[in-house]
Symmetry: C2
Subunit: 208 residues, 2 copies
């Protein structure tokens, strides 16, 4: 059964269990989906409103782009847990002979790289989502201002949560070029996305 | 159908729609549930492990308390949207006579107060959850350190998201004693909970 087909109460129960997956990675992806869904909702509550007539073209595009990013986040919820299951599978590989051990070690490196790629995808989705949400401030229905603020908070949690998942996985990776690439790219996204998310929250906070 | 019985993909689709509820309030509650579920998971991955033997009594209690707070958050997901639906219902009340208008105004004040109480409950749950998660740092399975970090990030988003929902609702409330009470209590929670959540994230970040 796919994680995205669990109910909210069923998913949080599964998350809370002693099963190591789903964990923080899939949780971060879900928070990204929640965040950009709220941005889309604010767009949907703005479209067709006379008061925001000058922003209609923007809002229509906002809704389209937000829907796409929401689907990206939903898709990566399961893929992140599948990547983690790849690590778990390595633990059940034989480790009797030197050949076993070498094969196991290689499989672990491959699995850890897969577990780094999925949260990195989340960081990219979150950056796009935060940029889109930032553009929506001042162009969307002010009755839903708090929802846009919650969107920014959720997307910030998603991007930082994904970053923690990258860090814990690259700590076991021996390919230093790979490690440096993901560290550098992840830090670049944080440097851009976090102040932008904070700015949205502050702007909303002042408007209320 | 209850919101907590929606699937993850179904809930995010509903959230993204032009239905004004569920919105940021129920989203913040869900993020609280995700956060404390992760704290419980980290406890569950620690219990019975020889390496953390000295913390077993704490961890057993952690799991119990986290389960309780998770259920509190799950419960308030639907109650927050029901409170919001109370506001929507006022808009369909008659407004022909002066008596109609007076009745409508009074109903709106009652509905806005209900919409302030549910996010305030979330703030209280989030504060308890953040305090519990802070205690878990250094006493739980370090293999799940990133999950504890994501827990703190989710709970921070929940407490700040709930606060935005309080602010947007009290802006329409005329009972100044009520407004001041919720503002003061909310600010006190933020002052305590936010630095604590940030501290957990920073500690986890440094450990990875």
């Amino acid at each position: 059964m796919k994680l995205v087909d669990y109910t909210l109460s069923g998913f949080t129960d599964l998350l809370a269990s002693d099963a190591p997956a789903p964990g923080g990675g899939s949780a971060a992806a879900l928070e990204g989906a929640i965040g950009i869904a709220l941005t889309k909702m604010v767009g949907s509550l703005t479209v067709g409103k006379a008061k925001y007539e000058e922003h209609q073209a923007f809002v229509v595009q906002l809704i389209e782009e937000a829907e796409k990013i929401k689907n990206d986040f939903i898709d990566v919820i399961d893929r992140d847990t599948e990547a983690f299951n790849g690590v778990s599978a390595v633990f059940s590989m034989p480790k009797e002979t030197d050949a076993d051990k070498a094969k196991r070690k290689e499989a672990m490196q491959t699995a850890l790289k897969a577990c780094t790629k999925t949260p990195y995808e989340m960081m990219c989705f979150a950056q796009a989502a935060i940029e889109l949400t930032a553009k929506a401030v001042d162009k969307t229905n002010t009755n839903a201002a708090s929802d846009l603020g919650v969107a920014a908070l959720s997307l910030k949690a998603a991007v930082q949560g994904a970053w923690l998942n990258i860090l814990i996985n690259i700590s076991g990776i021996q390919d230093q070029a790979f490690v440096e690439e993901y560290r550098k790219n992840g830090e670049a996204i944080l440097a851009k996305a976090l102040p932008m998310a904070d700015q949205i929250y502050e702007t909303v906070l002042k408007s209320l």
